[in-house]
């Protein structure tokens, strides 16, 4: 995918002494931030190490469960997320990427109280859909119960004239949630089988593309090639690409906005 991006600008090829620093809020899912950082490197069109995007990452997993809080039966993770953003800002971060789909439920609070621009993963996904020429039809959405309930993907799809298809309650219980649990338990073959079924079921219901909007699901799908692969949009990778575009803009203008 890196190949489809235009080459880095002359400004970025000769980086200034202090290029814009990206803050990565991680710790939500043990592998999510590491996977995001790997995709950030993979997607960056760099010809040498020094052309990669500079970042500082906060990966503190001692934070209340996000889906439980959204579903109304758990402590809010907002104070811990704000603590992370404060640490990233203190370290010099000029914009924030959140390496967790569900946590975007608190995007507006974090933006208002954190004092830094925050790239939105669902905007990044919509931009990638547009880049792939997908401007109409129904988009499948594979996500946690918290992300589905939060509704920010569905709202952003609708704003761009796209419909949204989610897995049935039964498919979520027997395919999506067990796939996520299997990734967390490091059982990628099982996770792959379940996630591929979930994607193909959404495709069978009329989805022309399927967004993997939970950081565990791309790890499950990418474990092996399958019929699901060309249908999928990896939200983590979309966010990485949005961060690279932010960095290019901020390097040119000297502004982080």
């Amino acid at each position: 995918m890196a190949k489809s991006l235009p080459p880095m600008s002359a400004t970025a090829t000769t980086p200034p002494r202090n290029p814009p620093l990206l803050g990565v809020l991680g710790g939500m899912g043990p592998l999510a931030a590491a996977d995001f950082l790997a995709k950030l490197a993979e997607e960056t069109p760099a010809s040498r190490d020094q052309e990669h995007i500079p970042y500082v990452a906060w990966g503190v997993p001692q934070i209340p469960d996000r889906p439980a809080a959204i579903l109304g039966h758990g402590e809010s993770p907002l104070p811990q997320m704000l603590r992370g953003i404060a640490a990233l800002k203190q370290a010099g971060a000029q914009a924030i990427a959140i390496a967790c789909n569900t946590a975007h439920y608190w995007h507006d609070d974090l933006l208002r109280e954190g004092g830094l621009p925050i790239l939105h993963i669902a905007d990044a996904v919509c931009d990638l859909l547009a880049e792939r020429g997908i401007n109409a039809g129904n988009i499948g959405l594979i996500a946690t119960e918290g992300t589905l309930q939060a509704g920010f993907f569905q709202q952003r799809f609708a704003a761009r004239g796209l419909g949204c298809i989610v897995s049935s309650s039964e498919d979520r219980q027997r395919l999506v949630l067990p796939a996520i649990a299997a990734v967390k338990a490091n059982n990628l073959p099982l996770a792959h089988t379940l996630a591929v079924q979930a994607v193909m079921r959404l495709h069978g219901s009329g989805a022309c593309a399927v967004v993997l909007a939970c950081t565990e699901t791309p790890l499950a799908i990418d474990h092996a090639a399958s019929a699901a692969t060309p249908l999928c949009i990896d939200a983590t990778r979309a966010l990485a690409r949005a961060c690279i575009a932010w960095h290019r803009r901020a390097s040119k203008t000297g502004s982080a906005a």
Copy 2:
């Protein structure tokens, strides 16, 4: 490998409000810190997200080339590394792991000037060799020219009564360095073929184990199963395990030392 570690202590299972924070100095190799963080998660014997090791990572690749500086024809990366350690310390890090083998050339300077404990990747490798029952014989070493010249692996092996075998100059030029370059260029199949040959050549010269002491080489070896796999010690993974052991000790004692 996580299975061979004892379960987390009761202290860690019920984490305190502010468990010890690990600082990760990255940005040296575009994928090195992401790979280290993934291995840190994989090796942690956690049954839920909140039991993973909290970290803050500094990944600023705008830093002078390490091997060039060691070989005497490049600017020193020490000031930029100290800047990273200062940012990590400011963010609350209580100990540092450096996700780059070659950068350990500056370990003593960073320890003296950075003001934080720094786990040493070669000590971590020696501990893992001992854990595997390797207390005698010759250890193969696959590394950059800078790491080989720096000598800290060879010295630590010798201190534990182990010999060291490095690839011939010819094998380094035709196998090791091209394997590293192929990982950086995202050509893992080529990198794998070259790295496996380099490992098997060291084994043929009498190495009972081969340490992959450049963060790119484990990515090359792990691309597929091969005869090299059981011979290899991944220095990145060894460092991750040392960090988990540090975190367990620091959680118990309340001290970061």
